[in-house]
Symmetry: C3
Subunit: 349 residues, 3 copies
């Protein structure tokens, strides 16, 4: 797949620039910038990994943990700037649901077709289970219920929640990179087998790709209204499905590929780790960014979003807590994702 | 117990026919047809098992998985025909709660009186845990919350959910009968020890009993209004408690009997398997049947039903996920059932 | 710490009596009686343990299980007498949250700083997990949803729930002290190492401390209104945080101390056992007491309380079900507690 990243990037970046320059319809620009971001996200991912591999496991781990969802963050900031608050929150929801149910489900399913039972590290799975319940269940659902009883206080509550999520996410990094690094050794060892780029090339690719993702995100956000008018999709549906998919597509492909090769620990690390990163790092950063921009976005999600996230967290905890997976478990998670995706589609009215 | 099935069936079928012929009060006809369905359901269950035992484990497994809750389905179709939509949904809820909390709880309790700790297959328990969360938690609770935000779309959502439930239920059968049949071997082996009827007798009994259940269901449904007026029971209470109990009584007795004999895997298979069958097969079939009849029944339950099902699923998952049971765990499940039953009784107003 | 109990008790009991006698401002009396109850609760705890140690494990176990949260009960009864129903329910919520999240979290965190991984008895943890789901999740959340649909019936439902909680709590004692006492042997053995007071001294201390707690509770309740006016704290915040903390402070300290000494089974027994006792024994007793007093308090909590308790129960179940803890799990629980405490603070309006 990696062989295709460069030409795809070139084609879609140029095509979207041409569409912008020629003032082609906004829907066309939207679709082309979506198409450009997918391989750009792949390049950012590979260059981050290459840099991480050179700077040693600890700083590398920190790098991956902060840059791993940079595309989400960039699109989110441009969308916030244009006032698309529903879209930003929906893309957070969509990333969490997509990673937990669709990517993990597809990994379990595809891996399970080839291997009857696949095993993975249970202590990592259990640590992640607690983080998911705290970072998604407690931190998003509980404040929403408080806010229903004390509507004027939602910013204070979102601020506290964002700080706590930040601190616990940081504590989790400290745990996995410093105090209990030995528990997570197996992932580093596996990853080391991958071929990486040179340090200098990786840094240059990362910088250029980041700038291009910013430009394309700007164009993408400009087209959201046009998409709503032409295709009848709601801001929430665009956020939950479209933005979330393009921000994570490259990552998704590699999680499924790892599962096919029976490297389930890496597959889980990508899918669950990425959900946690969005919930506990990207979402708080976007909250603080929105405060700096002057129109604060409280971290209060709609009930369909909260119910979907809560159900996804519980289902994934049950599926992964025994340290084993099979294709049926994958089918369950993908089935749950489809029910939710159709649900968000019906909200278009 | 089996010795009593025939005479009980004869007595109550004749008595209810006499009541119908003599135009006795509808309440009497209701009670007699309830009494007739219980042993008829027992005969249907035994004949299905006997047929299943002759046709080999795979087709037999498919047969049990489709005919196991035929009584529910027949009563449901007659109730739908008369427009008792609340009753039909309540009987689905009641079957799930009754099997999960009352039957499983009583099995754990009765078995636990004789055996301090009872053990059962953990991989089946964990697979069932995922199915319960998907089939009851996700598929019923999440769409209800979406429907609250997009009221006009509930049929589209129920249709999607029904199809997904159907497919995942089918996938579960394929998993347990084909790709991972070895994991479920222990149940087949245990079951083979039972005495079975001859193939031809079993087919005849199944056909006759099915027709009689249909007739009795028709009479039972006719009496629902009279019961409401005479006893003050709501349609929901009749559905959750009365219909659910008579549809499952024979099965319930055998689950508890298996637990007493320390054959917990069979006991769980009956209780949890039956809940899953109602949630993922009977409910979708009734939904499609209602669409064909012209007055569609969305699979949207009331909040008391959803809360009870959600709580029941989580409690049962926690009780069974360690692969061990004792009498106290049984008491917890039965206690939860009583709280819910009283709750449904208070809704009579 | 124990060395300080006596002088602290003396100082604060005398100071609060002086404040009462001199008609000092109610806020001062409130703070001094809070300060007096903390060491008095410690004395009651130690004397109960000493008596329990002399009368053998079974009667001793029953004693601890009924007197362990006597302070909660006494404050609750005085608050009921003055009609502070929100305060009483909030103190039940606060005890459950404080024990489950703050005390258990701090124990995991403090113990985890010294010991990389701490292990505890998994069968006790799983039994407690079921009890927590039943006693808090099912018994409080499900009736609240029924009451929303049948508002007139909340007392009937609370009464049933209270009786069921009582019976299952009693069944749990019978289980741990009689039928399955061997499973819980490890706790008794560990506890026996502690130094205890003489029987007669312990009985005298218990009686005097109980009377003094009653007097101080009366003064404390008198000051609640003044605290609301002077500090802007709501009845709910005072109940969830202040009353819950002073009723459990002595116990809390010893749970954390046990974790530091790597005696996690005792630490869990204090934190989780105390939550269960409040939910399944203290709350029903207060409900029946309120009925006797003539202004019945239905066991129906506000949505923020229910959401917090539900989330706390699920999080703690996931953290303890694997029988292992580390400092990060502690940080997660404490983080969840802080989010909730801030949430209750924002409800002051």
């Amino acid at each position: 797949m990696n062989r295709w990243l460069w030409p795809l990037t070139g084609v879609f970046v140029l095509a979207s620039a041409y569409a912008k320059w020629q003032h082609l319809p906004e829907l066309v620009l939207f679709l082309l910038s979506c198409a450009a971001i997918i391989p750009l996200a792949g390049l950012m991912g590979r260059s981050t990994e290459s840099i991480a591999a050179r700077v040693g496991p600890r700083i590398g781990g920190l790098l991956s943990a902060t840059f791993g969802n940079a595309v989400e963050l960039i699109i989110g900031i441009f969308a916030l700037k244009s006032g698309y608050i529903t879209l930003v929150k929906a893309s957070i929801t969509g990333s969490i649901l997509g990673n937990l149910l669709f990517v993990l489900g597809l990994s379990f399913f595809v891996g399970g077709i080839r291997h009857p039972v696949q095993r993975f590290n249970t202590s990592a799975a259990r640590s992640n289970a607690g983080m998911l319940l705290l970072g998604v269940g407690v931190a998003y659902i509980v404040p929403a219920i408080f806010a229903g009883s004390a509507p004027g206080q939602s910013l204070a509550l979102s601020g506290t929640t964002a700080v706590i999520l930040f601190l616990v996410y940081g504590a989790g990094l400290f745990f996995s990179l410093f105090t209990h690094a030995d528990l997570f050794q197996y992932i580093t060892t596996e990853e080391a087998k991958e071929g990486h780029w040179r340090f200098r090339s990786a840094v240059i690719v990362l910088c250029v790709a980041t700038v291009l993702v910013g430009v394309e995100s700007d164009w993408l956000v400009d087209g959201v209204r046009a998409v709503g008018q032409n295709l009848g999709w709601s801001e929430m549906f665009i956020g939950v499905i479209v933005v979330a998919v393009i921000g994570n597509a490259a990552e998704h492909a590699s999680a499924v590929w790892m599962a096919w090769k029976d490297r389930m620990d890496l597959s889980l690390e990508i899918a669950v780790g990425s959900s946690l990163q969005v919930a506990m790092f990207v979402a708080p950063v976007l909250f603080f960014a929105s405060c700096l921009m002057g129109h604060a976005m409280p971290l209060l999600f709609s009930w369909p979003e909260l119910a979907s996230m809560g159900a996804a967290v519980l289902l994934v905890i049950i599926l992964m807590i025994d340290g084993e997976s099979n294709w049926l478990e994958g089918a369950m998670a993908v089935g749950a994702y489809i029910v939710m995706a159709v649900g968000f589609y019906t909200l278009r009215g």
